[in-house]
Point group: C2
Chain length 408, copies 2
């Protein structure tokens, strides 16, 4: 032994910068307050998180239950070929023409986003994202060392795509991508065909990647959504990030996909996919079975979500001082409330308020904005409860707004 | 519209540097040659990949088949609490004392490695790894921007831990961690208690993280393995990276765990875990059921692997010019062959050789070394086939070595 043990100084062991910078989940930070409220015996209506209550179709759960194999093996790193071939059919029905080699099955939509960032963007590169945006984009950006540049959309215009000039102002030599979520989480906004064509122009002019998160494709209430994959002339730029989580109420399966016609990106992403060996096997079976669900499957879920949306938006706009644009898709709505601070308000709802033995959990909008200070009087509501519960939740909110000390 | 479309110049869309640097899987690169051999009608004995043929216990598959739920929900980001509490029992039996808050369930061991690198190491930081090492560590290091510094272990000493002086020579101000795999993939080497104590001294002296990949814990043939979690005095430094993949032949489940007593690391990792929402739900059910397998479950699998190891090592050492140390654990062996170049040889086996209508697929050792040029006459063999097939595979190899044009 030629070294001498020295005293152990734990302080020197540090987290990485990104480990420190990594934002905690803004949605989950209120969880301890919700748990405390439940311990006190209150019913908590959860409108804070995109966990659908719609049942996972029995038929696809049965596919997993009855799967016949002896060894739970690694799948192909890009996902089972049989599943990818099935997905070609699914995408065809959605108006997206791809072949199975252009699909890489991922561990949830989350991994599709991470792989896209990792393979396409270098540390320091910038990605422009219309805000408010899905908060976890921040997390994947920190993991990849990428800078998120927010371009603000406004509640007054129902969170429409910001004007092209607003994008132009933000483009720098470091800009390498635009990321959209369509239909949008958290706003529920559905981009029009014209807005998609506008995005195409910006993408083309500056030769950017267009990352398109289309997790909520089936939930559109104002006509068919246009996929970024349908934009002619920027086929090499578009990277679709997808997931079965919301589509089939299968969030726990952790199955998504990265889809692109850009072979270089596929080759790059494939190396990340190989490093982590394979996506989960059980839920690939489930996802494959889901493509065989009857064509009218989504009619039912869509009608249910639309009914809830109508109730939620109506109830909100009837409350004094509340504005809620009517969302065209997904199962979220953003509302402006007559309050001082949404973080305080959401915590107060759980800590200090109840009505008829219940309260409501909302997501403060500040977590969805990249620009500090924005969204302070807004909240996101996920309409993942049945109409009856949704009405009771709205009763709570209505009463809460009457008595909240920070009312404005 | 205030911008004018410009011609689309696809060449400007580039992959990220890490997307380009990311190494393709060295094990999977021979797959097209294996497929071609099969198309020609040859039987290919797969000793190239750590996919066990041992059946996944029926009892744990049944737990998934009979799981009763209506909605396949996200689990807790750290994994189901019921599973984490069960894992405490598992670890206790393995001589590791932790509580459930010190366990974060991950999507395979792969994600535990990625999370550990991401949360603890900054881009440019160095991690020392005894080589030959599991090739995918390279991939996770590229993803995290971390530099792998190999310290060479040698076939002459059976791939024992390199001497402490060899580590000392490589420590720089950038060194932040040592990563070991014990029992080792690809060498099968099982670190002795004395070697673990040596590691402790280095870790303590330089205040490094000790990442310990213990995927093969149960497969040790020379006494009980010592876990890094059992090293007294460096509790804050040790991060265990674990997986159920090999333990229960459940590779496709994609369930692993990151375990540590360092609360800062747990907090940091938890933020990455929240960003990706949750680990797969189905396989958590499987993993939870696995902890209830009878205590003698591993006796059977271990006895089977030991029998295979004995056959494999004996057969290899009987071949002229072949050296194969007897591995103490896991289900891999590294052998030195009388050949010019293992990459060429492994490809030649698939492209140009057959014996009794069959050939054998091996993993070239070059992919497991970080130092260029090392391992050129070594191969890794995974003994994941039954003894009968293993003997036939050894017959092939024996004949191949007689006729290989690049014989040395």
């Amino acid at each position: 032994m030629n070294i001498k043990p020295v005293p152990y100084i734990c302080e020197m062991l540090t987290l990485s910068s990104r480990g420190q910078l990594m934002p905690p989940s803004p949605i989950r930070k209120l969880v301890p307050y919700a748990e405390a409220a439940k311990k006190k015996g209150f019913k908590v209506y959860h409108l804070n998180i995109g966990q659908p209550d719609i049942e996972t179709p029995e038929q696809i759960l049965n596919a997993v239950r009855h799967a016949d194999f002896k060894v739970l093996e690694y799948s192909h790193s890009a996902g089972n070929e049989s599943y990818r071939r099935k997905l070609v059919t699914y995408y065809k029905k959605a108006g997206i023409e791809v072949d199975h080699t252009q699909i890489i099955v991922t561990t949830g939509g989350s991994e599709a986003i991470l792989f896209g960032f990792m393979a396409c963007l270098d540390p320091g590169d910038e990605v422009i994202i219309p805000e408010p945006f899905y908060a976890n984009y921040n997390g994947f950006a920190v993991a990849a060392g990428v800078k998120v540049v927010p371009v603000t959309s406004h509640i007054e215009s129902g969170f429409a795509l910001p004007p092209i000039a607003a994008f132009e102002q933000l483009v720098t030599p470091k800009t390498k991508a635009i990321l959209i979520c369509n239909p949008n989480n958290p706003t529920g906004y559905l981009y029009s065909r014209e807005e998609m064509e506008t995005l195409k122009l910006i993408v083309k002019k500056h030769n950017l990647y267009l990352f398109s998160d289309e997790a909520y494709r089936e939930f559109s209430y104002v006509g068919e959504p246009m996929s970024a994959m349908q934009l002619a002339g920027i086929e090499e730029n578009v990277i679709l990030m997808d997931t079965i989580s919301k589509r089939y109420s299968a969030c726990g399966g952790r199955i998504g996909a990265l889809v692109t016609k850009n072979q270089h990106v596929l080759d790059g992403v494939m190396k990340f996919a190989q490093a982590r060996l394979s996506p989960p096997s059980f839920a690939q079976i489930l996802g494959e079975a889901a493509v065989d669900l009857p064509d009218n499957y989504f009619d039912g879920t869509k009608a249910e979500y639309k009914k809830r949306r109508d109730v939620l938006v109506k109830r909100l706009n009837e409350m004094e001082g509340v504005t809620c644009p009517n969302p065209g898709g997904a199962f979220y709505a953003m509302a402006r409330l007559p309050i001082d601070d949404c973080d305080k308000f959401c915590q107060w709802l759980l800590e200090d308020f109840s009505y008829n033995g219940a309260t409501v959990m909302l997501a403060p909008a500040t977590g969805f904005y990249g620009t500090p200070g924005l969204g302070k009087n807004e909240v996101r509501l996920a309409y993942v409860l049945n109409v009856n519960d949704l009405n009771k939740a709205m009763d709570c909110l209505q009463e809460a707004l009457k008595v909240y000390p920070g009312k404005k």
